[in-house]
């Protein structure tokens, strides 16, 4: 139970920092921390074997999203 509170507190902190930060390059690490904390909360919320699948899917998806935004922001692949 205490782990869920810690993870939720980390998620709230990361969301506030990601929103308040002005520089886009500094927003991205906090968006990543938020997605890690939320995938940890997903697996702790519900005692069901499939919640692991949901957390893994969200982990993969949010990492892909953050990296796609970061890659495009830094100029993308040079051809």
């Amino acid at each position: 139970m205490i782990a869920l509170y810690i993870v939720a507190a980390i998620a709230v902190f990361a969301a506030i920092r990601a929103i308040v930060e002005k520089n886009t390059g500094r927003k991205l690490p906090y968006a990543n921390v938020l997605s890690f904390a939320v995938s940890g909360a997903l697996v702790l919320l519900l005692d069901h074997p499939l919640s692991l699948v949901a957390a893994a899917a969200y982990f993969v998806g949010s990492t892909l999203e953050s990296n796609a935004i970061a890659s495009t922001y830094s100029g993308g692949v040079k051809r």
Partner: protein, 76 residues
């Protein structure tokens, strides 16, 4: 769900929605949309709709990648 956790994740979702509406920069807007999805997904899982949660978690980044294509074209 525990009320404190409901407040925490509801705050994350609302903050993501408000900042997505207010931020002018297009990359910041996309990051705010990610925060919005991160805030809503725990509520879906808490009710037991795990298949909906898996689908939403896989479709949201694909939508972001499609919008990123439009952002790049607008910049170039």
């Amino acid at each position: 769900m525990i009320p404190a956790l409901e407040a925490a994740f509801g705050f994350i979702a609302l903050a993501g929605a408000v900042s997505a509406a207010l931020i002018r920069d297009s990359y910041g807007k996309l990051i705010s949309l990610g925060i919005l999805v991160a805030g809503t997904l725990p509520f879906i899982v808490d009710r037991g709709y795990i298949d909906v949660a898996v689908t939403a978690a896989l479709i949201a980044p694909i939508a972001t990648i499609f919008v990123l294509m439009a952002v790049r074209r607008e910049e170039a």
